[in-house]
C-alpha cells in the first residue's frame, strides 16, 4: 500500500514523457506539411542556388521556378550566369526534360537528376507531396538544437519514382515546419542531410490561405562529404501563369 502511494507520487511528479504519435497522427502530421506548402493556383519563385564541390570552382545560379501544382507541372528556367541563361527543366506527366538552348536539344532525365549539377533534386523545389509518395512512421521526439521535434521515418510507396526511397524528417512540434531531413538509399545508406532553418508564408488568393515555403535550404552530401549546396528563395509571385508555360515550346521561346 505504501509502495503504491510512492509509485503514484513518483508518476505525478515525474516530467511528462513524450507520448508516441499514433499512425493516424503521424499521417496527419505529414499531410499537414504537404497542405501548408500546397498552393492551389500557380507558383513562381526567384531562386538562388550555390554549390560547393571538392576540388571544383563554386557553381552559382539564379533561376525561376514555375509550378502548377494541380497538374503537377514544373519548369525551371536558369537566368544567370550568362553561360547558363535559357537552360531549363520541364516536368510533365512524370517526365523530366532538360533543355540546353546552345545545342537546341531536349533530354529525358530521371528523378535522381542533380539540378544544374548541384546537390538539389527536382523534389526540393517542387510542391511537397510526401503523403502521396511515402508512408510515415513516428520514430520518437527529441531536440534539434533548441527546438522540440518529432522524428518521422518515411518509406516510398510501391511504384512511385522518387529521388530517395526513404527519408527521415525532424518536424518542429511548435510550428509543424520541417527543420531537418536525412535521405537514404535503398540499402539504408545515408546519402544527403538537409536543413531548413528559415520558413516564410505568403498569402495566396487562390488557396484562400497561407502557403509556407522554406526560404533557406542547405544540402550536405553524405557521400562526398566536402560537397554542399545552398538554396535561397528570394521572392514569390503568385499571379496566374501563361497557360502554355509548361510546354517545350515556351521554354524554347525564352532563348530565342
Amino acid at each position: 500500500m505504501r509502495n503504491a502511494s510512492f509509485l503514484a507520487l513518483f508518476l505525478l511528479l515525474a516530467p511528462a514523457a513524450a507520448a508516441p504519435l499514433d499512425p493516424e497522427a503521424t499521417d496527419q502530421l505529414v499531410r499537414t506539411i504537404d497542405e501548408r506548402e500546397r498552393n492551389s493556383g500557380d507558383w513562381k519563385a526567384l531562386v538562388y542556388m550555390e554549390a560547393k564541390e571538392k576540388d571544383k570552382t563554386d557553381v552559382v545560379y539564379d533561376l525561376v521556378v514555375y509550378r502548377r501544382d494541380k497538374e503537377q507541372k514544373l519548369v525551371f528556367l536558369f537566368l544567370e550566369p550568362k553561360t547558363e541563361a535559357g537552360k531549363g527543366y520541364l516536368r510533365i506527366d512524370k517526365n523530366l526534360w532538360f533543355y540546353d538552348p546552345r545545342v537546341g536539344r531536349w533530354e529525358r532525365r530521371t528523378e535522381r537528376e542533380r539540378i544544374g549539377g548541384t546537390d538539389t533534386r527536382r523534389g526540393d523545389l517542387d510542391e511537397s507531396r510526401l503523403s502521396e509518395e511515402y508512408t510515415a512512421k513516428w520514430e520518437g521526439d527529441e531536440k534539434l538544437g533548441k527546438f522540440e521535434v518529432h522524428r518521422v521515418l518515411l518509406t516510398a510507396r510501391t511504384g512511385v519514382d522518387v529521388a530517395f526511397p526513404s527519408v527521415r524528417l525532424w518536424v518542429d512540434q511548435a510550428t509543424g515546419n520541417v527543420l531537418k531531413k536525412q535521405e537514404m538509399a535503398l540499402s539504408g545508406r545515408l546519402m544527403r542531410t538537409s536543413y531548413y532553418p528559415r520558413w516564410k508564408k505568403v498569402r495566396s488568393e487562390s488557396k484562400k490561405g497561407d502557403v509556407w515555403y522554406a526560404e533557406e535550404m542547405r544540402f550536405y552530401d553524405e557521400v562526398e562529404k566536402a560537397n554542399q549546396t545552398l538554396v535561397l528563395v528570394k521572392s514569390i509571385d503568385l499571379r496566374p501563369l501563361d497557360p502554355n508555360l509548361f510546354t517545350k515550346a515556351w521554354l524554347e521561346s525564352k532563348s530565342r
Binding site: E84, A85, K180, K254
Partner: protein, 715 residues
C-alpha cells in the same frame, strides 16, 4: 723469334688437325652438341626477331597514333600524364593556359619538327531512346513547317509520321503480353492502364488525322505519354583527344580516317573512334553477328559447342525490335520482299522473318551473315551516328558547370596497330575549339561574374560540423514572417543578366592558325626530326619553355602512354626473361654434353699427356673443338632461323587470334623482321655461351694425368 713463331704455327696446325679428327671421329657426340647449339641459335634468332618486331610495331603504333616522341605538360600537375588513361582513371592535369607561347618556345629547339596541342577527356553523348530520336526528327519538321509555312507536299514529314505510328504499333504489340499478365487489382495496373490507353490513342487513325491541327500538343503527348514506355537509350561515354586536326594529321600518320573525311582545316568537328562506333553505336544484332563471325573464323569456335555464341544467337532471334523500329512502312514491305526471296519462305510477318534470318547455326551462318549485310542492312541505319550527323557532347567542365556542344561527325578514325585495343582504339579526335568549350576553362571574366552573383545573394556557407548549432542553436522558435507576393519578370531578368543563351551554330565558324594556337591545352606532343634524340632533347624543351614563362614537364612517349606503356614494358621484360631462360637452358645442356664427352676421352687425353702434350695444349684442344662446333652449327642454326623467319613472313606472319595478340602484334598478324644488329648479337651470345659451357669440361680435361688414363678401364 721466327723459329718460335713457326713452331707455334706448327703446333696450332696439329691442334686443329687433332680437333677436327676428334670431331669427325665422334660424329654422334659432335652432332648432339652441335644440334643443341644450332637449336639455341634458331630459338635466339627467331625470338629476337619476334621481340624486335613487336617492339618496333608497338613503338610505331603508339608514336604514330597519339604519343609522338616527347610529351609536355604543366609541371604543376599532380598526376602524371597518361594518354590512354591510368589505373585510377583520367589524369588530372593543370592546363597550359597559352599553348601558342609554348609552341613558339619549343619550335626554337633544334631538331623539333612539330608541336601538337592536346587535351584528353571523357564526356557523355546523349543517345535518347528510339522514340525520342524519331520524335526529335518530327519536331524539327514541325518547327520547319511553322517557320516557313507547310508546303503543298511534304513527303519527309509524312514519312516521319508514318514511321512513328508504326513504332507505336510495335510497342503496343510488345506491351500487350505484359498487360495480359498484369494483376488488375494492383495500383500499378491503374498506371499501366493509363499507359496502354495512351498507346492505343497513338496507334489510332484519328490521332494522326488530327495531328496537324495542333502538332505541338500532339508531339508533347507522344513525347510525354508514349516515348517513356520504350525503355531503352540513354547515354554513352566518349573518350576524345581535343587537338588541332591539321597538325594532328601531319604528326600522327597512324591515325587513319577509315570512313568519311578528315576534319577540314580551321573547322569544328569530330572523328569518332572506329572501335567506339563498333562497340557502342552499332545496331546490336549486327554487332553480335560480327562477333559470332570473328569467333568462328578467327578463333575456330562453333555455335553448336559454345555457350556464349548460342546466347548471342538467342539474343539476336529474341531482340528483333531494334531492327523493326527502324523500318517505316515502305521499308518494312521491302524488307519482307527481300527476306522472303533470300530465305525462300512465304512468311509475311516481318518480326518472324527477321528472327528466322538471325536464327543461325554453324551450317547456315555464313549465308545468313551475307544475307543480313546484302539484303537487310541497306534498309537500316547500322550505326546510331553516321557521317554528317551532329552529336551533342556533354561534359562537366572545369568551371563546375555542365557544358554541351553540338559537333558535326566528319568520319571514323582508326589508330593503325591499335585498332582492337580497348584503351587506344576507343579514342575519338575532336577539334580543339570544341574541346575548349567542353573543358570550360574558368576565365577571369567568368570568375568575376560568379563572385558578383554570390555577393548579390549575400549568402554564407555553413560548415557541416557546425550546421545544427549555427542554424538551430539560436533559441526561439524560427520566425515566420509573412512575405507579400512580388512580381518576377523573367524576361527583364534574362536581359539584365546579359544573355538569352541563344543557340549558337559554332560549327559554322572558321578559325585561323593563330586562333587555334591561342588558348588552353593540357599537353603537347612533340615530333622530332630524329627519334633517336629523344633523351637529349627533353631537357632542352623544358629549358626553352621555362624561358618563355611556361613551366612544363617532359616525358617520353613510353612514359606518357600510361597503362599501354606499362604493359609494353612488362611485355619486353617477359620476352627478355624468356630469351634469358633459353640461354640458361642451352648453357646447361651444352655444358653437360661437353662434360660427358670429356669424361669419355680420359684415356685419350692421358695418352696425349704421356707423350708430352702440355696442359695448355689439352685446354686449347677442347676449346678449339667447342669453338669449331659453335661456329659451324651456330652458322647452320642462324641460317635455319633466318629461313624460318622468312617463311613466316612469306606465309603472312603469325595471325593474332585474340585482342591481346592483336595489340601486341600491332595488327592482325606479326611478320617477324630480321635486324642485322640483333642477328649478330644473338649469334655472338650463343657463341659465347658455347665457350663458357666448354670451360668446365676443358678444365677437367686439363687435369687428367697419364696415370689416371692408364688406371681407367674405359675403352
Amino acid at each position: 723469334m721466327s723459329g718460335s713463331s713457326s713452331s707455334r704455327v706448327h703446333q696450332g696446325r696439329i691442334l686443329v688437325e687433332i680437333a677436327m679428327r676428334n670431331l669427325v671421329a665422334s660424329r654422334v657426340r659432335t652432332t648432339v652438341v652441335g644440334g643443341i647449339v644450332a637449336l639455341g641459335v634458331v630459338v635466339v634468332v627467331l625470338g629476337s626477331s619476334l621481340l624486335d618486331s613487336i617492339d618496333a610495331g608497338m613503338t610505331r603504333s603508339i608514336q604514330g597514333s597519339l604519343g609522338g616522341h616527347i610529351q609536355l605538360y604543366n609541371a604543376a600537375s599532380r598526376d602524371p600524364l597518361a594518354l590512354y588513361g591510368g589505373t585510377m582513371g583520367e589524369s588530372v592535369l593543370e592546363p597550359i593556359s597559352d599553348f601558342a607561347r609554348l609552341k613558339g618556345a619549343v619550335l626554337t629547339v633544334p631538331g623539333v619538327r612539330l608541336v601538337v596541342p592536346m587535351g584528353i577527356d571523357q564526356a557523355m553523348v546523349s543517345m535518347g531512346n528510339v522514340f525520342d530520336v524519331a520524335l526529335e526528327r518530327l519536331r524539327a519538321d514541325v518547327r520547319r513547317r511553322m517557320a516557313n509555312g507547310p508546303p503543298a507536299e511534304d513527303p519527309e514529314y509524312e514519312a516521319h509520321k508514318a514511321h512513328l505510328r508504326r513504332m507505336a504499333t510495335l510497342l503496343q504489340q510488345e506491351l500487350r503480353q505484359a498487360r495480359e499478365i498484369a494483376d488488375e487489382t494492383s495500383g500499378v495496373y491503374k498506371d499501366r492502364k493509363a499507359d496502354f490507353d495512351a498507346l492505343a490513342r497513338a496507334v489510332e487513325g484519328g490521332f494522326w488525322e488530327h495531328f496537324d491541327e495542333d502538332p505541338l500538343a500532339s508531339l508533347e503527348f507522344l513525347e510525354n505519354r508514349v516515348a517513356p514506355l520504350s525503355m531503352d537509350g540513354g547515354f554513352t561515354f566518349i573518350r576524345y583527344v581535343g587537338t588541332d586536326p591539321e597538325a594532328f594529321q601531319k604528326a600522327f600518320p597512324g591515325a587513319q580516317v577509315v570512313e568519311g573525311a578528315p576534319i577540314p582545316p580551321g573547322q569544328r568537328g569530330v572523328l569518332l573512334g572506329k572501335l567506339y562506333a563498333e562497340e557502342w553505336l552499332k545496331l546490336r544484332a549486327a554487332r553480335r553477328l560480327d562477333k559470332i563471325r570473328e569467333a568462328r573464323d578467327l578463333h575456330g569456335r562453333r555455335i553448336a559447342k559454345d555457350e556464349e555464341l548460342q546466347r548471342w544467337v538467342k539474343e539476336n532471334t529474341g531482340q528483333t525490335r531494334d531492327i523493326l523500329l527502324q523500318l517505316d512502312p515502305v521499308r518494312t514491305r521491302e524488307a519482307v520482299r527481300r527476306l522472303q526471296a533470300a530465305l525462300g519462305t512465304k512468311e509475311s510477318d516481318p518480326a518472324r522473318l527477321v528472327s528466322a534470318l538471325l536464327d543461325t547455326d554453324d551450317r547456315n551462318f555464313d549465308a545468313r551473315y551475307r544475307i543480313f549485310y546484302a539484303e537487310l542492312a541497306p534498309l537500316l541505319q547500322l550505326y546510331s551516328v553516321k557521317v554528317g550527323d551532329f552529336i551533342t557532347i556533354k561534359a562537366p567542365s572545369r568551371s563546375g558547370y555542365v557544358s554541351s556542344v553540338n559537333v558535326p561527325v566528319y568520319g571514323f578514325v582508326e589508330f593503325r596497330g591499335l585498332e582492337r585495343s580497348a584503351l587506344a582504339g576507343m579514342m575519338s579526335v575532336l577539334d580543339i575549339h570544341t574541346w575548349r568549350d567542353l573543358y570550360g576553362y574558368l576565365t577571369p571574366e567568368r570568375a568575376a561574374e560568379i563572385a558578383r552573383l554570390k555577393e548579390r545573394a549575400g549568402a554564407t556557407m555553413v560548415a557541416r560540423e557546425e550546421a545544427e548549432a549555427a542554424l538551430f542553436g539560436g533559441g526561439d522558435a524560427p520566425p515566420a514572417p509573412s512575405s507579400a507576393p512580388q512580381v518576377i519578370d523573367e524576361n527583364r531578368l534574362l536581359a539584365a543578366g546579359g544573355g538569352k543563351g541563344a543557340r549558337e551554330d559554332l560549327f559554322l565558324r572558321r578559325y585561323g592558325q593563330a586562333e587555334t594556337d591561342a588558348g588552353v591545352a593540357l599537353n603537347a606532343a612533340v615530333i622530332l626530326e630524329d627519334p633517336r634524340r629523344i633523351e637529349e632533347t627533353m631537357p632542352l624543351l623544358v629549358e626553352a619553355a621555362a624561358k618563355a614563362g611556361v613551366r612544363v614537364k617532359a616525358v617520353t612517349w613510353l612514359e606518357a602512354s600510361g597503362i599501354v606503356g606499362q604493359s609494353m614494358k612488362l611485355l619486353r621484360m617477359v620476352l627478355y626473361l624468356a630469351v634469358l631462360i633459353i640461354f640458361a637452358v642451352a648453357l646447361v645442356i651444352i655444358n653437360n654434353a661437353m662434360v660427358m664427352a670429356t669424361l669419355q676421352r680420359v684415356k685419350e687425353i692421358g695418352t696425349m699427356r704421356a707423350i708430352g702434350a702440355q696442359r695448355r695444349f689439352v685446354l686449347s684442344l677442347v676449346l678449339v673443338e667447342v669453338v669449331t662446333t659453335g661456329l659451324v652449327f651456330g652458322g647452320l642454326g642462324a641460317a635455319a632461323g633466318i629461313a624460318i623467319v622468312r617463311v613466316i613472313g612469306w606465309t603472312g606472319g603469325i595471325a593474332a587470334t585474340n585482342d591481346t595478340m592483336y595489340f601486341l602484334f600491332s595488327g592482325p598478324a606479326l611478320i617477324p623482321r630480321l635486324g642485322a644488329a640483333s642477328l649478330a648479337t644473338s649469334v655472338a651470345i650463343v657463341f659465347l655461351v658455347s665457350i663458357l659451357s666448354a670451360l668446365y669440361p676443358a678444365l677437367l680435361a686439363m687435369r687428367v694425368t697419364p696415370l689416371e688414363a692408364m688406371q681407367s678401364d674405359d675403352g
